[in-house]
């Protein structure tokens, strides 16, 4: 599904050159649930942004669902993003002036579905996250956990191939966080590839595969290393 080869991202200001990602190689197969961990400043967010076609990369190659992303213009990338990807953010990022229905509607409008199709998908998506009864409510009226569910519904409504999640439970208490994680696991079991950035090792443990980003390079973590890390956290 996602294949990056020797990817690099360099930020240049007047005097400083920052290498956010270096010689990054990663392949994510369809249906995988990958947790991406790493200390802050390691390049996690950069990786996610690039994977999500939100940012351009400086060198290397990137294929998304078999299509080479390198050299695509903004319009093409937007289209790809709209059709193949779904996003879930730490801060939910719902549009406060729109009700839940309209919030989930936003990506579908850019897709070009007709009104009936959109309605169907929105109702289905909100149903899947258990919030159909509150379709006309506004985000400000919901708890954090509910808002994140709406964000997930929004991400799913377009039937994406890959779901990208950036610290999806970061702003939630443990109970809500558990609920969200269960939802994600369910979605993954139905065939959607999930790429989740987190720094909670407990959450990372629930994913099939962990990759660790440090100083711009990525390493797959084996089972032992994962357990060791987890143990280290518990002790500390």
């Amino acid at each position: 599904m996602i294949k990056m080869q020797q990817l690099s991202k360099v930020y240049r200001t007047h005097l400083i050159e920052t290498h956010a990602l270096r010689g990054f190689d990663i392949t994510v197969k369809e249906g995988e649930f990958v947790a991406v961990t790493g200390p802050s400043g390691s390049g996690k967010t950069t990786f996610l942004n690039i994977a999500g076609l939100l940012e351009e990369f400086t060198g290397g190659d990137f294929w998304l669902d078999g299509v080479s992303v390198k050299g695509l213009d903004d319009n093409a990338r937007s289209k790809l993003r709209n059709e193949k990807l779904g996003f879930i953010f730490q801060g939910f990022n719902l549009i406060p002036d729109l009700n839940l229905f309209d919030n989930v509607d936003v990506p579908l409008r850019y897709r070009g579905f007709n009104a009936a199709e959109r309605k169907r998908r929105i109702e289905e998506a909100l149903g899947r996250v258990g919030l159909s009864s509150r379709m006309k409510h506004y985000p400000a009226e919901l708890s954090g956990g509910q808002q994140q569910r709406v964000a997930i519904a929004r991400a799913l409504a377009g039937s994406p191939k890959v779901l990208l999640a950036d610290e999806p439970t970061g702003n939630l208490d443990s109970q809500m966080a558990r609920g969200v994680m269960e939802l994600l696991e369910e979605i993954n079991s139905q065939g959607t590839t999930i790429l989740m950035v987190t720094h909670d090792p407990e959450l990372a443990a629930r994913a099939q595969r962990n990759v660790h980003i440090m100083d711009g390079t990525v390493t797959d973590l084996t089972q032992e290393t994962r357990l060791a890390l987890q143990h280290a956290v518990e002790v500390a």
């Binding site: 939100l54 903004d74 319009n75 937007s78 409008r109 929004r154």
Partner: protein, 409 residues
């Protein structure tokens, strides 16, 4: 087009929307009416005089007495015609657009008590029409023998029997007749009837459209063949193209030299007369144009300001939309759609206001009814202005990177 969601989101910050819509509404109300007034005044100021404006001037003498004034007039005319570059010259009782002259009530039936019209009366020689270069549509010019020499100090002066009228006056007097040649009208003082022997296309009255009576459109005049005995004598002179200014100076010298103790009371070109008459109209039109310009500027800057504010407030939202698949053009389209909605709302309100304002001005200020074309023109220009104004902020919005969605907490 996501009209409903855009509308519902817009309505969450009602204040800004109402302010801009109100501004557009008030601007349209003033714009439509002001445009109409500007057009009206400009049209009046540019109206056709019927006279060869570029080459005609008037020069008036004030003499000490009236002894032998008829001979003096004829001699003055000869002296003027003798100046090289002068095409024609004639004594006249008044000049178009000079704001000095006389009107008289006329009837088509001697028993009528009401006047059918109140045209302006020009008296002049058989050379007057040629001098002013009026366009004779039908009939003929006066001949020399028809020109009366009238001394109003004496009784039983001969009354004029023939006249040449303007097309507008002919239509007013005899609306149903194709040709008015040979028809008679009366000056209503028990005087004998006057026969129309010619019709000229246009000859504006000395006042143009009268400010004291807007029914007086200023195009109804007639010419009588006559000279008067008076100390103050006006001569109309037409020169060859390009020579008027020099000849005006020469004419003054020539006429002064002809009679000792005489004064030149006025020496003005038709262009000068026109400028004097219409100074008020021009000032009004220019003033209104400045106001219109400022209004459009303020409205545009208001829209730019509000749109920029909203772009700033919605940075995150724009990033999210981009992350969710919106292309740059989708973001521009969002802002333009929102703007068009506000503008249309303002324009609808403004149309009502414009008509209400016009009604109020019709009753208080004797204005005319506003033709719908001006309202439409105003509405279209404001819509265009609005869209142009919002393009800048909308383009800036479209440049917001999708990464903002993830990078800003």
């Amino acid at each position: 087009m996501e009209i409903r969601p855009i509308f519902s989101a817009m309505m969450r910050s009602k204040t800004g929307v109402i302010l801009i819509a109100l501004q557009i509404a008030l601007t349209l109300a003033i714009l439509a009416n002001a445009l109409y007034v500007v057009r009206d005044r400009t049209n009046e100021a540019n109206r056709v005089s019927g006279v060869d404006d570029a080459n005609v001037f008037m020069i008036a003498t004030l003499d000490r007495d009236v002894d032998g004034v008829m001979a003096r007039q004829k001699r003055d005319e000869e002296l003027l015609r003798a100046i090289p570059g002068v095409a024609s010259a004639s004594w006249t009782s008044q000049m178009p657009l000079s704001q000095s002259g006389s009107n008289t009530g006329v009837q088509t039936n001697p028993k009528q008590t009401d006047s059918v019209a109140s045209p302006s009366v020009y008296s002049g020689t058989e050379m007057l029409i040629k001098t002013l270069k009026l366009k004779l549509l039908e009939g003929r010019d006066f001949n020399a023998s028809e020109v009366l020499e009238t001394d109003n100090r004496l009784p039983d002066q001969a009354k004029p029997k023939v006249a040449i009228v303007t097309k507008a006056l002919a239509k007013k007097l005899f609306p149903n007749d194709a040709s008015v040649l040979g028809k008679l009208f009366y000056q209503g003082r028990g005087d004998p009837p006057i026969e129309i022997i010619g019709v000229v296309d246009e000859l504006v009255t000395p006042w143009g459209r009268a400010s004291w009576n807007t029914d007086q459109t200023g195009d109804e005049s007639f010419i009588l063949p006559a000279r008067f005995t008076q100390r103050y004598n006006i001569y109309a002179v037409r020169t060859e193209p390009g020579q008027r200014d020099n000849i005006m100076k020469e004419a003054e010298k020539v006429l002064l030299a002809a009679v000792p103790g005489r004064l030149i009371s006025e020496n003005n070109s038709m262009d000068q007369l026109r400028e004097n008459r219409y100074r008020g109209e021009h000032t009004m039109a220019n003033g209104l144009l400045i106001v219109i310009g400022l209004l459009l500027l303020m409205t545009a800057s208001g829209i730019v300001g509000l749109a920029s504010l909203w772009v700033n407030q919605r940075r995150k939202q724009i990033g999210i939309r981009r992350a969710l698949g919106a292309r740059r053009v989708d973001i521009v389209r969002y802002f333009v759609t929102e703007n068009v909605m506000i503008c249309v709302f303002g324009i609808v309100m403004g149309s009502g206001l414009a008509i209400a304002l016009n009604r109020a001005m019709m009753s208080e200020l004797e204005l005319q009814r506003l033709p719908l074309a001006y309202l439409l023109m105003g509405a279209v220009s404001l819509l265009f202005l609005g869209v142009m104004a919002v393009l800048g902020p909308a383009w800036r919005a479209a440049q917001i990177a999708p990464a903002i969605a993830t990078r800003s907490a």
